[in-house]
């Protein structure tokens, strides 16, 4: 033997250490002397981040989003090749007193972490950019009865809640609904059954079965009595289509009869998580962001033909045009900019407008006069107001956690930013009111003022938890907010900035926008991620006028999650007068298609804003 001069070392390591190989070397009398390195954590469980609806944090051993480890063991959380976007790995909640918590990253990336967990209880992780991606680790002490959830849980906002509180149970049930597609609300079934397995949980020392959180509700679709005008496009972002690896379609509803017309699927382009849409002023093209990707896809409204699919930046979330020049403004949610682009069949980038360090802008707003753009900066607890003529940016710190969407009043004076995780320390759920031209924060609106998070008691209308899209009605009277955790729609009176109404939504209530009601007035259309109906709210009565099915049972290319994943909502014609005005200018000049001309004819003077 040339390379290895020592005799063979056979058998167990201790045997080896006692062999001549070791004793021949005085430096290595025993293992402690020889091996000075200290191993790092060895993962006992893994959560892989993916683009698959529900299974955004996937346990590779059994394919669900929950892993169980023992105290002192470690979990490895990483990106997988099944995601095309960057994420953060961020603690949403954890047992109070857990060592070295929370876990977070400043920016989205391809990071992986290995985290040792000592304290028994429930740890939920999310991504701050895509904050419905949920994965959970239960650190279970094998000596206690039932799976340890803990006694007191801390939320990322600093709020501490008892593990048996209503909000903790809501979060727990929501976790299972979100991460288990078979528990999503399918309106083609007679009932929505959330059947949770009989797994004993240890909550504050008491053993409770997970099945106690089960529930059943009837599914009742309802056709609104008064038709709408035009069509409603809904990004059914989770729908799986044959031939596509990535989820998502755009579902077109005819507001005259509330039926699904068709779905734009983008099979060739792998249209990935289509999240939000906006049209050009002729309504010939629809621009659409792909949120778990890097691209903006443009398709022809009439034919569904894709005309462009180009890279714009990490996790593009929302797209708007500026009324006067029809240029595009695409919020780059995984970055810190809004990309300005030319419009038409094949948009191309003109400029990148930075809206602040580590801002992560999500659902932005442009005033009717095109003067200002307002961005909610999800990762920097701020709202930016950009003067679009000079492209100068003012950052307004708001104290809100994950400000995710913003919309403004028709006069361009006020904006309302939805803070997904509230405004700590006081507000569990909030909207921040912004003075747009004054470029300052005015106040916060408590969306959950009438909800007791411990008992669950609701004593009034203000019941909205985890708010998302929050448009202002075209008459400037109301702010309508989709609340994903409470599955409710809250309506704020702009005159008083108080919640005056709360309506029942769906699990994962997410996207809202206004459309024209036939004969005058408006509807608010609300889409939900984990249900396949579109809620229609009559803005004259502030009541639910109907629930419209987004699934298409006849379309055999839909292989899963039919009609699910409702997020971006685009009703046409647009209700915002600044935009509508530009389209009305083109009417009768052979620049609009006959169906669009037909819709415009149906509008009242008030709807037209004249």
């Amino acid at each position: 033997m040339k390379t290895f001069k020592t005799p063979p070392i056979a058998g167990a390591i201790m045997m080896a250490l006692a062999s001549t190989a070791v004793s021949a070397n005085p430096d290595a009398a025993n293992v402690d002397d020889a091996i000075l390195s200290v191993p790092g954590l060895m993962p006992s469980a893994t959560l892989e981040m993916t683009d698959n609806p529900g299974l955004w944090f996937k346990d590779p051993t059994d394919g669900d989003a929950l892993v169980v480890i023992k105290p002192g063991q470690a979990v490895h959380i990483k990106m997988s090749e099944e995601t095309r976007s960057q994420h953060t790995i961020t603690s949403l909640l954890w047992p109070v007193g857990a060592k070295d918590f929370p876990v977070d990253q400043e920016k989205p990336s391809d990071a992986s972490i290995t985290k040792g967990l000592d304290k028994p209880g429930l740890y939920v992780f999310t991504c701050k950019v895509h904050p419905y991606m949920f994965g959970a680790v239960v650190v279970d002490d094998p000596d206690t009865k039932g799976l340890d959830i803990g006694s007191e849980l801390e939320l990322v906002t600093g709020v501490k809640v008892p593990a048996d509180s209503d909000i903790a149970k809501k979060l727990l049930r929501t976790f299972f609904v979100v991460t288990t597609p078979s528990l999503w609300r399918d309106y083609r079934e007679a009932e929505w059954k959330v059947n949770l397995p009989d797994i004993p949980l240890n909550i504050k020392g008491q053993t409770i079965s997970l099945s106690a959180l089960s529930m059943t509700m009837p599914n009742k679709l309802q056709t609104p009595k008064t038709p709408g005008v035009g069509e409603v496009w809904v990004n059914t972002q989770f729908e799986m289509i044959e031939g596509k690896k990535k989820p998502g379609t755009a579902t077109r509803i005819d507001a005259a009869n509330w039926k699904v017309v068709n779905k734009v699927k983008g099979v060739k382009e792998e249209m990935n998580h289509p999240h939000n849409m906006w049209p050009d002023n002729t309504y010939q093209h629809i621009y659409q962001t792909q949120w778990f990707d890097k691209r903006l896809l443009t398709f022809e409204r009439a034919s569904g033909k894709v005309t462009s699919n180009s890279e714009v930046g990490e996790s593009p979330s929302h797209v708007l045009t500026r009324p006067a020049d029809d240029l595009l403004y695409v919020a780059i949610n995984g970055g810190e900019q809004v990309v300005k682009m030319t419009g038409g069949a094949a948009p191309s980038a003109v400029k990148s407008i930075n809206v602040g360090p580590n801002s992560s802008p999500h659902g932005h707003f442009i005033t009717d006069d095109g003067k200002y753009m307002v961005t909610p900066n999800a990762l920097s607890s701020s709202v930016s107001v950009v003067d679009l003529d000079s492209e100068t940016n003012t950052i307004i710190p708001t104290g809100g956690v994950i400000p995710i969407a913003v919309w403004g009043t028709p006069d361009g004076q006020r904006a309302y930013a939805a803070n997904l995780l509230g405004t700590p320390p006081q507000l569990l759920s909030s909207l921040t009111v912004i003075d747009i031209p004054g470029k300052k924060k005015l106040s916060d609106i408590n969306l959950a003022a009438d909800y007791d998070p411990v008992s669950g008691k609701i004593t009034g209308e203000a019941y909205g938890l985890l708010p998302i899209q929050t448009p202002v009605s075209p008459d400037g009277k109301y702010v309508v907010t989709a609340n994903t955790l409470s599955a409710s729609i809250t309506i704020v009176d702009v005159a008083t900035n108080k919640v005056i109404k709360s309506l029942t939504c769906e699990p994962g209530c997410h996207g809202v926008h206004f459309g024209m009601k036939k004969g005058g007035g408006y509807y608010a259309y609300v889409g939900s991620k984990f249900a396949n109906d579109l809620v229609v709210v009559d803005m004259d009565k502030l009541e639910v006028a109907g629930r419209v099915l987004l699934a298409d049972g006849k379309d055999t290319s839909i292989v899963a999650y039919n009609g699910m994943g409702g997020q971006g909502i685009l009703p046409l014609p647009l209700v915002e007068h600044g935009y509508l005005k530009e389209t009305l200018k083109l009417s009768g000049k052979k620049q609009l298609s006959s169906d669009v001309e037909g819709w415009l004819k149906l509008l009242t003077k008030e709807q037209k804003g004249i």
């Binding site: 033997m1 040339k2 390379t3 290895f4 020592t6 063979p8 070392i9 056979a10 058998g11 167990a12 390591i13 045997m15 080896a16 250490l17 190989a21 070791v22 070397n25 430096d27 290595a28 293992v31 020889a34 091996i35 000075l36 390195s37 200290v38 191993p39 790092g40 954590l41 060895m42 993962p43 006992s44 469980a45 893994t46 346990d59 590779p60 051993t61 470690a74 490895h76 990483k78 990106m79 997988s80 090749e81 990253q105 400043e106 920016k107 990336s109 391809d110 990071a111 992986s112 972490i113 290995t114």
Partner: protein, 317 residues
């Protein structure tokens, strides 16, 4: 006498397969197994490693390896002129999918490429349950260096599952027994036998996955994620740093300098892209003394995610 030697070696040559006759050296008979860990990750595990020298005598060195599978997988150490027959077993629980070893750096014929027929046009060069596959490697002259090996088939015939943990390290030492190093302020030839410890660090996403090959007790120790490496002051230790995945990294070790292999450039940081690798020798604590010398990826975002550890240089007694 000469005649006698010739008789022995000529006899040996006749017994050895043709591919093994070209150069003299040891033959490594290795069996590895691909398994699934409790965490759901995949890993290679050493089943058996025997070394035959050119006199035909055999040494079993399996005991040098960790008994359990690890990430990175077992470190295979060869010398220029050696050959290896590496047999892979598919031991992945609940899976009948092919798994392979694709090695970098050393020579092999097309049937040892570790890819599927759709890529290599020859055959599916992968192990199936109950059907191991054997790869033949030649550590020819000029292949000295630190090389990765990894799966190229599991789960995805074009990609494999290196990203899930199926990767390991091959060290081919030069036949000369010496490598250049910056020692005591001078570039000099270091005798391999004087290297006490080999620290292997794989940079994957924002995590270091480590292993120590301890040459004092001839033992491999899996060090898992972002480990603390330990050495005594003045010991010669060798680092092997390899990239994996999609990210680009900058490896930096505090307090120490080394030479870029093949040059006289002095470094304390270098770039590591996917499957790119570097190795270097240092004298632990040279000029700076004992201490917890930080090592980390110098990409700011990776640092923020905890991609770091300590190189603990312990003062001499």
């Amino acid at each position: 006498m000469l005649k006698k030697i010739c008789m022995t070696s000529c006899l040996m040559a006749a017994l050895l397969p043709a591919w093994a006759q070209a150069e003299t050296g040891n033959t490594h008979l290795i069996t590895l197994k691909a398994v699934k860990l409790d965490s759901g990750q995949l890993a290679y595990q050493m089943v058996s490693h025997k070394i035959q020298d050119d006199s035909g005598s055999e040494e079993d060195i399996t005991g040098r390896y960790a008994k359990e599978p690890s990430i990175p997988g077992p470190t295979i150490v060869m010398t220029e002129g050696d050959k290896a027959e590496v047999t892979l077993e598919q031991g992945i629980k609940d899976s009948d999918k092919p798994v392979s070893i694709h090695v970098h750096g050393v020579h092999y014929k097309i049937d040892s490429d570790g890819t599927m027929k759709m890529l290599n046009q020859v055959t599916d060069e992968a192990a199936f349950p109950g059907k191991p596959y054997t790869y033949k490697w030649t550590a020819a002259l000029g292949t000295a260096g630190t090389w990765p090996y990894h799966d190229h088939t599991f789960g995805n015939p074009k990609l494999g599952s290196e990203d899930k943990g199926l990767y390991g390290t091959l060290i081919v030492n030069p036949k000369s027994g010496q490598i250049p190093g910056l020692i005591d302020g001078e570039i000099k030839q270091v005798n391999l036998k004087d290297i006490k410890r080999e620290f292997i660090l794989w940079m994957h996403e924002t995590t270091f996955w480590g292993m120590e090959v301890n040459n004092i007790v001839n033992r491999q120790v899996p060090l898992w994620t972002n480990p603390s490496l330990g050495a005594r002051e003045g010991e010669l230790v060798r680092f092997h740093v390899i990239g994996l995945g999609t990210a680009f990294h900058t490896f930096h070790l505090h307090g120490h300098r080394w030479i870029q292999p093949g040059t006289t450039h002095i470094l304390d940081t270098f770039n590591v892209g996917p499957i790119q690798r570097e190795s270097f020798v240092i004298k632990a604590g040279e000029g700076v003394g004992p201490g917890h010398w930080h090592y980390h990826c110098h990409v700011l975002q990776h640092m923020q995610s905890g991609m770091m550890g300590a190189f603990m240089v312990i003062g001499s007694k």
